[in-house]
Subunit: 197 residues, 2 copies
DNA sequence: TAATGAAAAACGAACGTTCGTTCATTTTTC
DNA sequence: GAAAAATGAACGAACGTTCGTTTTTCATTA
């Protein structure tokens, strides 16, 4: 890795930390440069500006993109196994970068979902393929449109995060630990029962 | 309503519009004053500053607070009716102020859930009471802790909003119209089946 | 009802600060 | 030794807030 690539990565990592903790406008280029250990002007040798830095941080750390290969490689036989596998991948991605949710909110507020739409455009054709494979695998999900399942998974992702941020402190520990499993069970039972109607 | 109260409300309404459309930092006090039809300095006769304005906008328009009286007055006999009623109230609140979700994101990013926690502190004792009444009403929800049901409802609220913002454009119209009903059905079936185990 | 006067509200110029970015220059890399 | 990277002072613009002043409001009084 060349010197340039090295400091570029340092800037991205530092920005990730600062943006999640302090927000976009709460983080100045001066503080970012200082904490990354380089001079203010030097940042502009690697990025065209502050927005460019956020974009790099967002795109190169997004859990949805991280998840996809793992989900595609899921080996489960039944629908239940596949959904549980996918949920486990999601939970792992969340726990790997628990603060990334803040970057998603920043992106919505500051960038109006521009980057998110870009991610979905590349990720969703693959996502739909995955669900199509699931439908082939077993019949019980055939009645569930792929998009609805994906919406349900997005709901899973955000409701986990938001319930944690908003209600984490007043939720008993044993619930917090099992919250994701609990929500997956609800989703699974709900989807399966609905699809059998 | 006195003149002062009148302009105060005008400021709040204008700020609501601008904050949801342009974000917090994207809205300057100058633009806010101009669009509200008063001078820059005049704003400070009614609010101590920009943060105070956001707080007022957030607190006086939050759908969770709007929903509570209606939910408390719900007349449904069975659990299914009560959940459907509550979900209908939520959907009505969402449709009444579809842009408020942006204020929630701003609040998370800029104010670190300070105001949200305050709302939950006042709303949740009542929320838990409501669920307690539901548990009395019929047995099938007895196994579901109230907090989990509330988490599920928060998930419902956010997954509806987020799926709409992120996937609305690529979702077929007939799904978008029925998305909330669909999610409620999944939730209901999932919760009821789970609680019968 | 009309006059009054203190408080409330409106005004807009001015202040001090901070921000993202640029640039001429020096240092390092390979 | 040419290109890449790093430096930090300087720039101009925009921001939230303050302040001295003027205007309006409205309960009280005549």
């Amino acid at each position: 890795m060349s010197k340039g690539e090295d400091t570029r990565q340092t800037i991205i990592d530092t920005a990730h930390k600062l943006f999640t903790r302090q927000g976009y406008h709460g983080t100045s280029m001066r503080q970012l440069a200082k904490e990354a250990g380089i001079a203010l002007g030097g940042v502009y040798n690697h990025f065209s500006g502050k927005e460019d830095i956020f974009r790099a941080v967002f795109m190169e750390n997004h859990p949805f993109l991280e998840m996809l290969p793992a989900i595609e490689g899921a080996q489960g036989e039944t629908i239940e196994d596949l959904v549980h596998d996918a949920a486990a991948q999601m939970l792992a991605a969340i726990k790997r970068k628990p603060d990334f949710i803040n970057l998603i909110f920043i992106e919505i507020v500051e960038f109006k979902n521009t980057h998110t739409h870009e991610i979905f455009e590349t990720a969703f054709p693959r996502g739909v393929q995955i669900v199509a494979r699931m439908e082939e695998a077993q019949g019980s999900l055939r009645a569930i449109p792929a998009l609805m399942l994906i919406r349900a998974f997005i709901g899973l992702f955000f409701s986990y995060h938001l319930a944690e941020t908003m209600l984490g402190e007043i939720t008993p520990p044993e619930f917090r630990e099992n919250a994701m499993d609990y929500q997956v069970d609800i989703l699974l039972h709900g989807i399966l029962e609905r699809s059998e109607e």
